[in-house]
């Protein structure tokens, strides 16, 4: 019934169902040890990726993820109409610098760690509206460059609190195309900014959980679905703590997602050293989605997935000035 309208509440429905035709993921050596190791296309031996700085390495990972996604779909560079990408660094330099290697137009997106779901959503909107035929959505992050921007120098001997998460080194990208083959993007829910007053920058899971819960429940309401209608409800980087909170928050409102919920950050690492609550960063959801999840979807293991990556929209300035952390989550529904 809902599919007749193009927008209900905050959810947009894609009549022509844009497809994810190909996807690619690159991850670092630490991520390789975990579940995604065998599904990622490229794994780095060295976190510098043969470059002189970590920022260049991040840019190179993103470039390679974009190129691989295009190549795996059997496309050439001139087949792509637009690139939607972003990353965590100031002025989204990795994405912009990656885009200068390509001839197609670039739209920069910033939504912190939910950049992957936002860029897929925007790409699907563009394709559904008929403005473009093929778009690429990609994002990435690097532990060392994020650490330098948001926290302390790498070599400094500080302790990490048990709530903290580990920024994922990795990049992922996918092509969103019109056509009839590939994974369907049927609808997307645009997120609202939620701020429950969490000020602890080490506790991102608790800050982002309300945003995830809000968007997921909004999606259920708008589409008239229940958690059990999905094979998997995939959040981005809430970590173990945030996952517990999001389950509680949705359960309170009458949606029991506990049997369907999976968090990319929680599953990405075999927690052995000090990843504590799991992975975080834009690359976290990008790598897990574009390797393990979409591969399994294509293999027929999952039929319907709700992908709701979450992002913390803070900067070092805002947290230094004592502001709380506003967070956002965008959800994309995938079917195969």
């Amino acid at each position: 019934m809902a599919k007749q309208q193009i927008k209900i509440g905050n959810t947009v429905f894609f009549k022509s169902a844009p497809r994810i035709n190909s996807f690619a993921a690159i991850c670092g050596s630490k991520e390789k040890e975990g579940i995604i190791g065998e599904y990622a296309d490229v794994t780095l031996e060295d976190d510098m990726y043969g470059e002189s700085t970590f920022e260049k390495a991040e840019c190179k990972m993103l470039t390679n993820a974009i190129s691989l996604a295009i190549e795996k779909g059997g496309y050439k560079e001139q087949d792509i109409d637009v690139l939607l990408s972003g990353d965590l660094l100031n002025q989204i330099i990795s994405a912009s610098f990656a885009a200068r290697d390509y001839d197609f137009p670039f739209l920069g997106v910033y939504s912190a760690c939910s950049t992957m779901s936002e860029s897929i959503m925007l790409a699907a909107m563009l394709v559904n509206a008929g403005y473009v035929k093929r778009a690429v959505a990609a994002t990435g992050s690097h532990f060392a460059s994020a650490e330098r921007q948001y926290r302390y120098p790498l070599e400094q001997g500080t302790t990490r609190p048990p709530q903290s998460q580990w920024t994922v080194t990795g990049a992922g990208g996918c092509t969103v195309c019109e056509g009839s083959k590939g994974i369907k993007i049927t609808s997307a829910t645009m997120g609202r900014v939620c701020d429950y007053g969490v000020t602890d920058v080490n506790n991102m899971g608790a800050a982002m959980a309300p945003a995830a819960a809000d968007t997921i429940m909004q999606h259920f309401k708008d589409t008239g679905t229940q958690p059990t209608d999905y094979d998997m409800i995939l959040t981005g980087d809430l970590g173990a703590l945030g996952s517990r909170i999001v389950k509680d928050l949705t359960w309170e409102k009458g949606f029991d997602i506990s049997s369907r919920h999976v968090d990319c950050g929680e599953i990405i690492y075999k927690v052995i050293e000090d990843e504590f609550q799991g992975g975080s960063g834009a690359g976290c959801s990008a790598v897990v989605l574009n390797s393990y999840v979409l591969s399994k979807m294509r293999a027929g293991l999952y039929k319907r997935i709700l992908f709701a990556a979450t992002g913390a929209l803070l900067s070092t300035v805002s947290s230094g000035q004592g502001e709380s952390i506003p967070c956002i989550s965008h959800a994309v529904e995938l079917e195969y």
Partner: protein, 149 residues
């Protein structure tokens, strides 16, 4: 949702988050800080004995001991060992003079990519700057108290 100000934050949520937070292992942290901090001090004392044996004394001896420890702190930072020690030892490796050396050397390494002058040199004291400012300030305060007593 509207009208949310800094005064009516969701107190319920914040107190709920507190109940979910994994606890910090204070006892274990204190123990490893004590062990590592003590070990660094023992190494310092050993260096002092060696230098004394070599014929130094007084201020020279104290200065040289510090210099050797600072050198070791910087060396271990450069080798990428000190941050690993620090992750487990916490205050045990931050408080001794080697921790100060680490807090100067680590930004220097980190920001070298932004150039020698505006990168390495200018940002070398991003962390240690606070230590120096408050160190000097408390030194002045103690000096004034000493002057009037």
């Amino acid at each position: 949702m509207t009208g949310k100000t800094r005064d009516n934050y969701n107190e319920n949520y914040l107190s709920y988050v507190k109940t979910q937070d994994p606890p910090t292992k204070h006892f274990k942290n204190c123990l490893s800080a004590f062990g590592v901090g003590g070990l660094i001090c023992c190494i310092g004392q050993f260096i002092r004995f060696m230098l004394e044996y070599a014929g130094l004394s007084g201020d020279e001896l104290a200065g040289c001991t510090s210099i050797v420890l600072i050198f070791l702190g910087c060396l271990l930072t450069g080798l990428g060992v000190y941050d690993r020690i620090g992750r487990h030892a916490g205050a045990g490796s931050i408080v001794p003079i080697t921790g100060f050396a680490n807090s100067v050397a680590s930004p220097a390494i980190e920001f070298k990519t932004e150039g020698w002058i505006y990168g390495m040199a200018a940002k070398m004291f991003t962390v240690a700057g606070a230590i120096i400012v408050f160190g000097v300030f408390s030194g002045v305060l103690v000096g004034l108290v000493y002057l009037f007593i």
